[in-house]
Amino acid sequence: MIEVKGLTKYYGDKPGVLNVSFSIESGEAVGLLGPNGAGKTTILKMLASQMLPTSGTIMVEGIDAVARPKESARRTGFLPEIPPLYPDMEVSSYLAFFAGVKGIPGKDRAAHIRQIMEMTAIDHVKGRVIKNLSKGYRQRVGLAQALIGFPPVLILDEPTVGLDPKQIAEVRDLIKGLSKDHTIILSSHILPEVMMICKRVLIISGGRLILEDSIENLEQGGKTFTIRVKGPAAEVAEVLRATPDVAEVRPVDSQPSEDDGYSRFMVSGKVGNAVREEIFHRLAARDMPIMELRSVGNALEEIFLEVTA
């Protein structure tokens, strides 16, 4: 279990993270989303005890990560965005070194490393020098390093960035498999990846926690489509807002092109087929034909764009 309260980090006088609080239950897989510079990596580094906060508390599996960072770090395995690898070492030597660093007893080390290499499917490259591996395999070696000691918490910062589609699928499957036995905190720009692996999402922007909810809730509450109608914008908006189960109507263009007689809106709410039919009939009754109606493909994406705008 991870408990974060009032987490704040300043770089000099510039705020990196401001008063972030959240908790993660054991065995949960949580996604950390946010634009570049939002503070995601700063939060992950503080959770992994690689950086001290300016203020706030972090409890990892009951250990105060600020007061006892080394003890807390033993409970976490951290894979940074760029895996921390010695390029001139062989894979097996690298893992043996970190097994020693993390305190795996000498007599158990070989078996432990063998098990981790099998889990991450890198046993067939154990004798290769790391700089000669592909990016996907280097990512796996970095993940293997994070798994040494089987920490209960895995913290992964953009684990699939820079990989090709096949490598992304392989690493993603690997992480999904690990999520059964570990608490996972995953930061990513790839929203489908977060939806595939995580049950809950934290959206960070400008160093603050903007939104925290389960993916299931976000998906159900966030059905949206865009609609382009021939008619005056004000009248069209009135009809749309009056339709039952429509929660929000927003003009899509900042300056609707009324000169050509068309107006475009984003409509959100519990807008299933019945509501769309109702909108059709209401607009038809006012002689305002629908020129285009398009679903917004990903509710999480639209929420992300909206809250981080």
Partner: protein, 234 residues
């Protein structure tokens, strides 16, 4: 500490650095031995060790430029600093590995002593004293370079800082002799490592210079540990 020591030794010889250091060291020693002893007919190693003390500032930075720069460059340092290893273990492991490579290179020059023994009657006390003194001098230089490397984020900065620090220490002796200002010249004299080393070449073996070199190394290693510890607390 042994974990770091073992990794560093392997690192010196899986990259060019260890080979470059030993190659340059042995090349310089070979040139000096050839010109002073084989061609010049000298029966001792005073010339070699004397010249070495004045040019060693060029070669010791090779041993230390990647000491911390690699781990910073590849993002490994935060992992080590948040592990069970203390800053002291990390610094000492790296320091002793560098000293071990230096000792290995120095040990290879024993072949010159063998040649002197075969063809002459060298003053062994002075030779043994020179080896001990030069090892202590080298260990002190490596400690200084360990500290300057602990402050640097990349090879170039580490090299320039180490080179500059060692040039300063080698020149301190000459500066202290030419400066008439009492306190300042004494400070420079205290920093003049090579002056303390001169006694060893003459076969004078006193505890004072040994303690001086060991103390000098300890001070700079402590500074390196403090420097690393400050990075942990960021």
């Amino acid at each position: 500490m042994y974990l770091i020591f073992k990794k560093e030794i392997a690192g010196y010889f899986s990259t060019p650095f260890g080979f470059i250091f030993m190659g340059v060291f042995l090349l310089l020693s070979g040139i000096i031995f050839t010109s002073y002893n084989l061609l010049g007919g000298g029966g001792d190693l005073n010339g070699m060790f004397g010249l070495f003390s004045n040019i060693s500032f060029m070669i010791f930075p090779i041993l230390t430029i990647k000491m911390f720069a690699d781990e910073r460059r590849y993002g490994i340092e935060p992992l080590l600093l948040s592990s069970r290893l203390s800053s002291t273990q990390i610094v000492l492991g790296k320091y002793f590995a560098a000293c071990a490579v230096f000792l290995a290179a120095l040990a290879m020059t024993v072949v010159y002593v063998v040649m002197l023994l075969i063809y002459g009657f060298p003053y062994m006390t002075a030779i043994v004293g020179s080896y001990i003194g030069f090892f202590l001098l080298g260990a002190a230089f490596i400690a200084v370079c360990t500290f300057t490397a602990s402050l640097a984020d990349n090879y170039v900065t580490a090299a320039i800082a180490s080179f500059g620090a060692l040039v300063g220490l080698v020149m301190a002796g000459a500066v202290s002799r030419s400066l008439p200002i009492p306190v300042v010249s004494q400070v420079f004299s205290a920093l003049a490592l090579t002056r303390q080393y001169d006694e060893f070449i003459r076969g004078i073996f006193r505890p004072g210079p040994v303690v001086y070199f060991v103390g000098f190394s300890v001070v700079f290693l402590c500074l390196a540990i403090i420097s690393l510890e400050r990075r942990r607390l960021l």
